[in-house]
């Protein structure tokens, strides 16, 4: 590793009493959670439970009430640039600009570290080169970023976020557009990066099995409130899945942690099979 910067340490994230509303619709209601430095928290919950809004609120991209503290320092009143040096964000549907190479796209991650008018300095280029190398994006560096495949684009977005040299990485559904193999690749990569850098990761994940396998803590949001939180085994129970997702599922323990298995309704089919 020839990382040009000293080891980046993840920060502790504390969120207390976070509420947000779209017009009169309350989307988040007094949400609280804590992530230890270097931890990985996955925010799970059914569609519309406020997962994306939670991430955007914590990042200050969304009007909200409550307090967010990074290593004990409240982010309210913190200049945007300072916040951007601590927290990086990869949205669920990243906008990839036309006519921009992957390297230029990743270089955008250096924005909070230099004056907006200034050209990237040598140090910025070194950071970008390092990130490109670590994410195996070097062969794609001069390709237009819009021409990359889905998995490659997700890596490019991750690279841009990492080029920010943040202390906490916020990822909104990093695997949403990916098939299982590519989803696992991205999550493995993320896990490796966060262990190497000691990064704190907060992600939303709709795939409960993947959430249970990769994150060390889960927060289950339901209708804008924290319905459950704890280790995957504590949160992912058939009872809570039935209650909050309206899902029928079994939770089985495999060698790599939990797996959530959907169960088909009525038992009619099983009956017929057993009878035959």
């Amino acid at each position: 590793m020839t990382a040009p910067q000293p080891h980046v340490r993840g920060a502790r994230v504390e969120v207390v009493g976070l509420s947000a509303a779209y017009g009169r619709t309350q989307v988040l209601d007094s949400v609280r959670f804590t992530v230890e430095p270097g931890g990985w928290l996955a925010v799970i919950g059914p569609n519309g439970s406020g997962k994306s809004t939670l991430l955007r609120s914590v990042l200050g991209l969304q009007r909200s009430e409550g307090q967010v503290r990074i290593d004990g320092v409240p982010t309210t009143g913190m200049p945007r640039r300072d916040r951007a040096r601590l927290l990086a964000y990869a949205p669920q549907l990243p906008v990839l600009p036309e006519g921009i190479s992957t390297r230029e796209y990743v270089t955008l991650g250096r924005t909070p570290h230099r004056p907006l008018l200034a050209a990237p300095r040598r140090h910025d280029r070194e950071v970008v080169a390092d990130v490109l190398r670590r994410l195996d994006l070097e062969p794609l560096a001069d390709r237009l970023v819009v021409t990359l495949s889905g998995g490659e684009q997700q890596r490019a977005v991750l690279a841009r976020a990492l080029a920010q040299r943040p202390r906490v990485l916020f990822l909104d559904e990093p695997t949403a557009a990916l098939d299982l193999g590519h989803a696992q690749q991205v999550l493995d990569l993320l896990d490796r990066l966060r262990r190497q850098d000691g990064l704190t990761v907060v992600s939303t994940l709709h795939d409960l099995t993947l959430a249970g396998q990769y994150a060390d803590r889960l927060t289950l949001l339901a209708a804008g409130r924290v319905a459950a939180e704890g280790t995957p085994a504590e949160v992912l129970t058939p009872a809570s899945l039935a209650e909050h997702y309206g899902a029928r599922a079994q939770v089985v323990t495999g060698p790599d942690g939990l797996a959530v298995l959907p169960v088909r309704s009525g038992g009619a089919k099983t009956d017929r099979v057993t009878r035959a």
């Binding site: 600009p97 921009i100 390297r103 796209y105 924005t111 907006l116 990237p120 970008v128 001069d142």
Partner: protein, 365 residues
């Protein structure tokens, strides 16, 4: 952007999607654009109804440039020819460069802030406002000049800024600097002001010809006073826009992501819109509504040099200037001694050229 992006690749574009895009060196493209501008300017000075010997034109310009230092260059143009050069052709070419550059760079900036390839400098009501201002003064103003300055350019300038301010005000009432809202506000304001302009125009059919002539755009009556009038505004506006290249690149990833990168998208958008509108208003004031330059030139530039606004903005400035000088040249020459309105030429030349670019781009994919 950096040396990292300045890599040249030999050969033509490969056909398969997602293939490595050959990026011409920024330096090469910029030099070519600069040369094109110089050639266009020289052609614009030499060619015309009164033939001027190229060599003597250069000598006359040298004489003018060195005159203050007491140097007397022999062999310069005299009498009518000198007057044609210095009082007719030169101010016209210079104004064409300024107007073309301003419209093109504003168009690129508008396309950037709205993340919309169809945006042009007239999007937020600048054209409709200027049109209303010019029409009102042509039809109703008792005086034609205010001091040394024509009343129509002043009214057009004020009208253009008024249109943009209305759009910004409506947009901010309706939902902040969120770009789709602002876009719709601009369309509403433009439609309203254009309707008002039509109304005034219909009530003053005697002035129809003059109004129509203004609306379609012209550079025929260019004078040095026009250049002096708009140069300060254009200078400031273009300087601000050229500084915003990196910021527009950040804005291209969307408001949320730009925000997470430490940028204030709303403030940035406002700054760029104000600067681009100032440039547009200045251009419109002296040349009327010349269409197509602001829409097409940034796209031409993107095809040549990629999508980063650090390249698109300065290159639009150069290419826009060259484009309008050439369009004006064609307008003067093609039906000589009569002149075509330049707005007709920009669309007449620009549209097929643009179609060709789109076709070439589609084939490439």
């Amino acid at each position: 952007m950096s040396t990292a992006t300045q890599r040249t690749r030999p050969g033509r574009t490969t056909a398969e999607p997602g293939a490595v895009r050959p990026r011409r060196s920024t330096l090469v493209v910029t030099t070519a654009a600069g040369l094109a501008l110089v050639v266009a300017v020289l052609a614009g000075i030499w060619v015309g109804a009164v033939p001027l010997a190229p060599g003597r034109v250069v000598l006359t310009l040298a004489d003018r440039a060195l005159g203050p230092f007491g140097v007397d260059v022999p062999g310069r143009l005299e009498g009518t020819q000198a007057a044609v050069l210095l009082q007719l052709r030169l101010p016209r070419v210079v104004l064409a460069v300024l107007v073309g550059a301003a419209l093109a760079v504003s168009g690129a900036a508008y396309q950037g802030v709205f993340r919309n390839p169809l945006a042009d400098p007239y999007l937020l009501g600048a054209a409709a406002g200027a049109g209303l201002g010019a029409t009102l003064t042509i039809a109703h103003s008792p005086v034609q000049t205010l001091g040394p300055v024509g009343i129509v350019p002043l009214a057009a300038f004020a009208g253009a800024l008024f249109g943009v301010f209305c759009a910004l005000a409506l947009g901010s009432v309706a939902g902040g600097a969120h770009s789709p809202t602002l876009l719709l506000a601009g369309i509403a304001v433009a439609a309203f002001l254009a309707a008002a302009q039509n109304l005034v125009q219909q009530q003053n059919t005697d002035d129809l010809r003059q109004i129509y002539g203004w609306m379609i755009g012209q550079l025929g009556s260019s004078q040095w006073s026009d250049v002096v009038l708009v140069l300060p505004y254009l200078g400031v506006a273009c300087a601000v826009l050229l500084c915003c290249g990196r910021a527009l690149d950040v804005l291209a990833v969307g408001d949320d992501e730009a925000g997470s990168l430490g940028v204030h998208p709303g403030r940035l958008r406002l700054l760029v819109i104000l600067a681009a509108s100032l440039a547009t208003a200045s251009a419109v004031a002296v040349s009327g509504l010349i269409g197509f330059v602001g829409l097409v030139v940034p796209h031409i530039v993107r095809r040549l040099a990629g999508g980063s606004y650090t390249r698109v903005l300065p290159l639009s400035l150069l290419v826009g200037g060259a484009f309008l000088v050439l369009a004006d040249l064609i307008a003067r020459v093609i039906l000589a001694p009569a002149e075509l309105p330049i707005g007709v030429v920009t669309a007449f030349v620009g549209a097929p050229f643009f179609a060709l670019l789109i076709w070439a781009g589609a084939r490439r994919r």
